[in-house]
Amino acid sequence: MDLLWLVPTLPLLGFLALFVAGLFVSEARPLKWFSGIVGAGSVGLAALVALVVGMDFYAQGAEPQWYLLWTWMDVDGFTPSIRLYLDGLSLVMMGVITGVGFLIHLYATGYMWGEGGYSRFFAYMNLFVFAMLMLVLGDNLLVLFLGWEGVGLCSYLLIGFFHAQPENGYAARKAFVVTRVGDTAMLLGLFLLFREVGSIEVQASMAGARELWPEGSTMATLIALLLLGGAVGKSAQLPLQTWLPDAMAGPTPVSALIHAATMVTAGVYLIARTHELFLLSPTAQLAVASVGLATLLIASFTALTQRDIKRVLAYSTMSQIGYMFLALGVGAWSAAIFHLMTHAFFKALLFLASGSVILALHHEQDMFKMGGLWRKLPIPFASMLIGSIALAALPFTSGFYSKDAIVLASFDFAPAGWLFWGGAAFAAFLTALYTTRMMVITFFGKTGIEPHDHSRINMWGTLAVLCLLAIGGGWFGLAPVAAVLPDGGLGEADHTSAVALATMAAPFLGIALGWLLFHNRRINVDGLAASRFGDATRRFWFSGWGFDWVYDRVFVKPFIAVAHLNKADAVDFAYRIIAAVTRGLHYVIALTQSGRLRWYAANMAIGLLVAFLIVLDAL
């Protein structure tokens, strides 16, 4: 009994049902109950099937399984097949996607109740889940790419869900286009892989690569770097990270599902999936680690200065994915996936909880207009709090296990372990700092806008489940993925050494400093920020380190300017000149047709004269 195919099919069916229904039902008379049940139900069922599949998987000895659906095409030796592949890695991913996905769908049935386009929303969401499942289940890089582009599309559609506001459209477009730059690199990577190895089936090509290239080979590095390009785009890492904060324009459940729990971690999945290629290339691994660390630090600083609660979380997501990249780069493969999973739990929780706050405040997202909410919104507050301590990686929360593993593993990283460890630990400190800032400003202090709690059972129930996962998710451990991914003695690091202690202490330092800065106000942070240097730094951090500014000047503005200049098509100009010259010749020659008989005769004489000249010339 093989039900794997059902897992992606169910959300697809859900999408189709909602899509067809949407065509025939106007938005004025929405089928809310139908949409909600189909939308959340299909994902729920998929989660259930995934559970069954997972149990079956372990019952059968956890051996990788293939499930061939059909051969996509067959062109001259290029035979990508639509084939699903199940191993520990894809199982974990599948679980996260369906499980967390279901919870978020459930939450969304409540959250979106008051919005227009209800069925459209769930159609997109279901399509997203389908695409994401194809991404992680496909055994072929082309199928993976199908999912990859599919999630990008859904991300685009959902960011721009409230499409009446043009800003949302711009944000959506930005997300799509920026990730497409990465996708193009990935596409080229596929081409190169196919040219060199002759296959883009994941398992087959990895085996081929292992046989073909020695460690450190240039070709492997090139392909790995191209794939990294794709991963960087999708996972909002440097230098393609700029789209993610703007993507917060989408409804909050979308942010939770796509821009925190699942899609943005696709890059991590991709690198983990093709780890054998990366193992062949230390250069590529160093690149992955460096990208991760840089993103981690930059995003953390940026998060420190944001006013919008969702943007704080967005930058936090970026930085946490930075951790995952760091883990991948330093060889802590399982830890990366582990962090991916725990991050999915607590970041989804944080987003959904903040969503409840935002909903209660009539879509106000500026933290500085909130304040003193902890009494008035106890459930969101509690959820936020649990999410935050997991994010800050306080011991015994899920975040602790995964993050600790990464930070410690980076110390063992061959080129410059202490540097990477130092960065990672410092970032853990920063994480705690901005998390504290967020919590303090949002829930403590003076009361801002008066909240109206619209939470329903489906919303706070979801939060409760996610709270459990955020706290206890760590107990899932590394086991499922450890069988798939090579781990260089990770997890057995010495937790009592000074390094381990420092790693553990970093978040506490952050929390303490945060409390002092933002709650007790023992240190005059406002004064610091008001100084010239402080203000410049703050604004620099606030803008996300100026990436948007630079890209705008270097790419966007010239692109648009030239487009405006060349709207009439310079190439056409050449043809217009030809036409004008022809016309001009007509007018000039037409002048000779003066109608005067003697002028005509004179021309005949000239013709005769020239004829004689030609004859004489022959002498």
């Binding site: 007509h586 002028w599 005949m604 005769l608 004829a611 004859v615």
Partner: protein, 491 residues
Amino acid sequence: MTGADLQALAPHLVLIGGTLALLLAISFVRSHVLALAVTLATLVATLFALPASNAAGARVIDGLLAIDAYANFFNALFVMAAIASALLGYRYLERRITLAHREEFYVLLLTATLGAMAMASATHFAAFVLGLEVLSISLYAMIAYPEEGQAPLEAALKYLVLSGVASTTQLFGMALAYAATGSMAFEAAFSAGSLLAVAGQAMILAGVAFKLSLVPFHMWTPDVYQGAPAPVTGFVATVSKGAVVALLLRYVVETGALGAAPLVLGVVIIAVVSMVVGNLLALLQDNLKRILAYSSIAHIGYLLIAVVLAASISGAPMALETGMVYLAGYFLMTLAAFGVMTVLSSEAGGEDAERLEAYEGLFWQRPLLAATLSAAALSLAGIPLTIGFIAKFYLFAAGAEGELWTLVWALVIGSAIGVYYYLRIIFTMTKTPAAEDVGEAREAAPAATERAGAWEAAAVVVALGAGIVVFGIYPTPIIDIARAAAQAFGG
């Protein structure tokens, strides 16, 4: 002169007899219908005499006229064009010429046809000159035929004087050639070694270039086309051009005059310039007659590809074939275009329907006429489905056979420019006239005039249009005849 010679000359004799009969008929009874009937009878009889003439076998009579399948192919074209012109002209004369002045037109038409037929057969300077003059003299009078208006007179005068200059130039050239070679028969009238002969040939070719309206001897063309009454313009554009082409090809093949390098160079230059200038002149013209005049300049320029090819011995059959097929197509499309113009001119008073505006909305009021004019325009542009394409295809083929790539390039460029103004004609016809937007009621009005229109002329026009399309799709009959004639040429 033997009996077989007489048999070979049968078409000419019939035509002369018919002309005299017509003259007699006119002097007894002045009846327009009768004149038309006699004319048509004569022409049809001439047409039927052509096979008999062919049956007598190819021969040269008295060293003056060569009666062969080649000549008879053109004779058939001339006679059919004359029939068409007579039918087209009938209603036109009826409406525009005073009662007592209509019948002479047909005499002139017949003599002009005779002149053209003589040219197609000419193998001697004397026949050349006489044929040309019989044709020209008749045409002067036909162009100036209308009783009112300055334009016809101006056209006739220009034609006469300039043609006189060209004729004398040509005669002088013949005299020089004769002085150099001692012969006036084509086959011996040229020797490449004598500069005097070459100069004489240059003058003869200049005269021919005038009649063919090639640059720079082309300037009379638009004025004469415009000034002449529409049915006569059609006749001038076809028969007078066709006769000279027929003569020129025979002349070039028999004299080998283009064996002289400077002459070939001159012809190539004239051809290229004519193709380009003709098309450029037509580009933004608003007068349909002038458009067709300028386009004829370009078309004859194209045809010079065949003339150049004719200079080479191996290329001669192909060149003659090309000339025949091309002219057959050219006759059909040109007559169709002027036919449509004649039909419309016969219905309206005032000047001929020559301004392009007169054709606005024709597609919706007179679909058949418009379709015919479209077919003619597309054919002139050389678009497939029409005989014009076959004709142009032949030129390409001739160019390829002679490897005359320069000329073929010029043909491409010229045709490219040409497409523009031919399409403009069609586009004008598809325009919705301003009147139609006012109300549907007015759309019905022109249909009424159609019923009262020149039905016999319209029938001719539609037949010509059908010919353009039918032979455009299935040209084999024409090709076969032309090929046989070309193969038989010169024994």
